[in-house]
Subunit: 242 residues, 6 copies
Amino acid sequence: MSGGTQAGAGVTDVLVVAPHPDDDVIGCGGSIAKHVRDGARVTVVIVIGRERSALDDAVTDEEFAAETEAAAKALGVHRCIRFDEPSRDFALSRRVHLDLVRVLREVRPQVVYLPHDNDDDVEHRMVHQLTVEALWMARSEFFQEAGGPPLPAPRLVLGYEVWAPMARFQYAEDIGGQIETKVEAMRAYVSQLRHAAWDEGVRGLARYRGAVSSGSGYAEVFQVLSLTAPPPPAAAGGGGRD
Amino acid sequence: MSGGTQAGAGVTDVLVVAPHPDDDVIGCGGSIAKHVRDGARVTVVIVIGRERSALDDAVTDEEFAAETEAAAKALGVHRCIRFDEPSRDFALSRRVHLDLVRVLREVRPQVVYLPHDNDDDVEHRMVHQLTVEALWMARSEFFQEAGGPPLPAPRLVLGYEVWAPMARFQYAEDIGGQIETKVEAMRAYVSQLRHAAWDEGVRGLARYRGAVSSGSGYAEVFQVLSLTAPPPPAAAGGGGRD
Amino acid sequence: MSGGTQAGAGVTDVLVVAPHPDDDVIGCGGSIAKHVRDGARVTVVIVIGRERSALDDAVTDEEFAAETEAAAKALGVHRCIRFDEPSRDFALSRRVHLDLVRVLREVRPQVVYLPHDNDDDVEHRMVHQLTVEALWMARSEFFQEAGGPPLPAPRLVLGYEVWAPMARFQYAEDIGGQIETKVEAMRAYVSQLRHAAWDEGVRGLARYRGAVSSGSGYAEVFQVLSLTAPPPPAAAGGGGRD
Amino acid sequence: MSGGTQAGAGVTDVLVVAPHPDDDVIGCGGSIAKHVRDGARVTVVIVIGRERSALDDAVTDEEFAAETEAAAKALGVHRCIRFDEPSRDFALSRRVHLDLVRVLREVRPQVVYLPHDNDDDVEHRMVHQLTVEALWMARSEFFQEAGGPPLPAPRLVLGYEVWAPMARFQYAEDIGGQIETKVEAMRAYVSQLRHAAWDEGVRGLARYRGAVSSGSGYAEVFQVLSLTAPPPPAAAGGGGRD
Amino acid sequence: MSGGTQAGAGVTDVLVVAPHPDDDVIGCGGSIAKHVRDGARVTVVIVIGRERSALDDAVTDEEFAAETEAAAKALGVHRCIRFDEPSRDFALSRRVHLDLVRVLREVRPQVVYLPHDNDDDVEHRMVHQLTVEALWMARSEFFQEAGGPPLPAPRLVLGYEVWAPMARFQYAEDIGGQIETKVEAMRAYVSQLRHAAWDEGVRGLARYRGAVSSGSGYAEVFQVLSLTAPPPPAAAGGGGRD
Amino acid sequence: MSGGTQAGAGVTDVLVVAPHPDDDVIGCGGSIAKHVRDGARVTVVIVIGRERSALDDAVTDEEFAAETEAAAKALGVHRCIRFDEPSRDFALSRRVHLDLVRVLREVRPQVVYLPHDNDDDVEHRMVHQLTVEALWMARSEFFQEAGGPPLPAPRLVLGYEVWAPMARFQYAEDIGGQIETKVEAMRAYVSQLRHAAWDEGVRGLARYRGAVSSGSGYAEVFQVLSLTAPPPPAAAGGGGRD
């Protein structure tokens, strides 16, 4: 009923870069589900591994991995890639940049999601920086060791909010039809919910964002980091594009 | 069950400065109700009058005033003062500063609430500026035309969020026991809810703020603009200290 | 040859808000010409009148008006509206907001251009503030004295650069095919060029922006202030849109 | 005569995190002395070791350590912990975070001091970041390798100024009764004073801050980074207020 | 003994723009005295008049004017011009801009002082804005109603600190030889000192700035707002300049 | 014909710190040529080595080094020092700080150029930070392992623009007489120009900056990071300086 996403038209591939497991759900889980509904393949990269000292006995690595998988499945994520960088020892090396360049050139997304530039967690800000830089690298002719031909500029690069909401946003996605899916995905993180009621937290934020952005319903809001020109309508119907 | 507000102990008077009707409810309605529960008198100043062209036929001035009254009553507000400054012609004159100085010196609040310094509405930012300046003026020995002796420094001056959530906050108030009162006060603005579901919006934001600040429940979060020393325990209970 | 503008597909109406005559040419003259080429009607609002003390004898009001007209004609502007607010006595009143709301509701643009939020001239920043506020007002159901039904959210709202280039931009328009038209429009301001070589200045900035944004050619770059969802492809080919 | 510190009532433990030796004295030496006077134990953590190339012959490590000890003694510091991280090779590793979490869980402070978020030295800003992160970690149930049960939220977290004074502050501490102690502690750093007259510098800044914040005397001013609710009066101990 | 001011070489005229009486002394009183010592004429413009409600009975207008005069005399100010704009009703009109343009074109200063761009008083920030704009206007060929030929670009435009010290500064003036004169000028404001010990406050800040900027002594620090090329040494000794 | 640079008078040595080869040409190539014309020795430090994966086959290391040399020669650079830090693995260690301190103490520049503090490339911002820190270190009595006596404060420290133009600048250098030399130096980077037309890009930016700063011609604009007092005119004519 409500319109498709901005990139809904002709979008085949979407990439979401998440600092930690569940940041993708909190930040843009509703938009992921909407892209999937519209027929796109959504790939999620989780940069940093599980917090190593998170009550190790209580939850095994297998159980935790199963939670991530269940959340991804709930949203309809096509593929989930884990870099397993060390939590709180994470550094922005050439290697991790190239790892992300490789993924970008493989997935060739038209839409990219990453944490916004002022989130209230230092690892979120580092992953913002990493992704912005990797996007530049992936589009250049250099860095051939990461394989693949240069990435065409994604149509839209969006910053999402997790720990710090944005004072200003430039794009709002109506997720009225996806809010229950988003909450369900959040609930797949059973071990996390013991510590914080993020399932109700994400529903709450989406409700507030709905009221602020359109007067009702549920929404996810984003910082527009980059927008490029879609083909003109004639070309769109005809074939090739620049 | 949950603790009192920071200033709950020994607070007798609270002042809330709102740019427009209902900003007090959205920004700190739960905290107002909590102050009232703890025995404080809460005074609300609404600086700017009703939007003059808000579908004038649909709601009469009397109906609109009745809504404001009903909201104040729901929260337990002691007194509601309207300055009726003209919407979108509002300017920061000496006169309006003195009007607010007069109220500050009469109410002599220990806690003051105002919009935070980066809210996403120009009139909210003007009322922030007005209140910060009026607090300085009220505390000085000058401006005797506003009457009253100088105001002692309030114990706590807090900035609340309405249109733009804060990227960082310094104080969170648990409003788990007041959330339904807050939503009810919001619903008193029947004519406003036709345009935006602020009743559900405020509940949603409080839920997100609860999850972020303490892992669960409902919260209102604030920018700490000024904090001064509370009375020494001697005063509090008998003994001497510095 | 090069692709159309972002909003090129299906855009029928564009509004450019300029603080002073020639800011529209400097900030987005190439994009205006591109919209015109793509079949859109472009309306320009010039908020502030001619600097009253600009060497009054040297250029008559008629000569100056003729220059503005010639520049608009060079770009293919459909209609140029002058508010003639007083230079350096300009204030953000309710009246001037309603004047702009009226234009917005008449033109009903899909794309809006205004100065970016940090331009290095106080009147440019005031016109930024005015336009953001007027966009909100025009979209609401209130302010019926400005006439017209509420404005649908424009597809794209873009901030342009004049006196201060932007440290970061989110959208770049290739104006390789329009640069000569832009320079020609600039040269229509004969009396201005006596004081500053803006004709060569705009060509220079466009060249730098071309090198930075795509490696060559000429570009205008923009701050993305608001983006809303375009119709899904089916709708695009079929007819109606949200 | 003058009031106690904000956290003076019922404060038993205070933690000061200093990037280098003497930053604690410059930033909050007067407040430290006041806490000590009020009966609190003050622990100081010095994160980074002595500048290795500071004219090594002139002052031995023993002499330098003796200076630090003398300064701490002058203020009445309970315990001084040195992490001895390498100067100008300092990095924010997981290890150093856990080291600080361990101290936080042992000391269990009600008040924490750290450099403000915009001090004009990169290592000061890194220690700000480290402390904010360690506070979050110490309060969580994770990171059991750092020992101890989770830290209750400190009542007050304050940012102090050393190299860059703050444009805005939210809390001022009257140190009229402690200024001589602060200057004396500063003078214990005999080898430092050869290079800069910080003893007179800190007296000067305190005098300016006194004039600005209360019209006279001496003050230290702070950024309020976090404030939490004290126990309600009943819980506090039976009668009076916190 | 210590070197001259930056603009000491060949400076004949200096203009200081002060929001209120005494801001010139607090912000750059030492530098004023140093310019005077070096043979320059210093003109002070005080934009806003005496606070109208400042305990009117205690100090007459004549007494207050005498204080301002005494302070100016202590520093060696050549001429003090009062605009007497209304306090807290001050607005940035075309008229007040032209008033300042007129002074700029008469005085033709090589060095200009004004409040820095982030001082903690709204009228200070307005006077910053006013002066930056008036400098632009004075240098243009327009605004002939303000008289005089266009102003050559001043060699140096500096922002001084009063209510909010600067986080970063770009220029420090050694005022070791002028600090007593500065304090004496401050003490001329007898009626002001009853309310705040600014005489000791300015000495304190200068001492801190001395320690931070050069390790000892007294200094005033400044934001560099504009710097233009001084004459090459040959020209400096010989005569003309570009 | 046009005046000398700000530091033209009596400047014997200039240091330019460039993150990568060609940043010196883009950021301040015209000013370098002007210093050389005025008789100064200009030393360039290039901190980060050649991008290792830049189409390695197409251009050999020798060919690339030859390009850098040709560019330096075109500008008249006295000496070019390469640190060859690893691209995208660059970290701010003590070692690299000391390397730059050593150069600073050897060259003893009166004028220093570095990237401005907000350039749009993370390595540019790191080199800004590195240089600011190394300047402080070089001026102190410590760090004797870097050799040399302490550096006197440079007369002028300027931030230049490459990837992100500055919103505000404080100093503009007229490079009308050097623009062709700058473009020629840029063209020496034959292998770079295959990817982006930086030769025309730098000409364009200089043209825009000329129009904005003086109404015509070509200019480079700078952030003033530090300015210190030159000797008074007598001393200037006489001989020694501090």
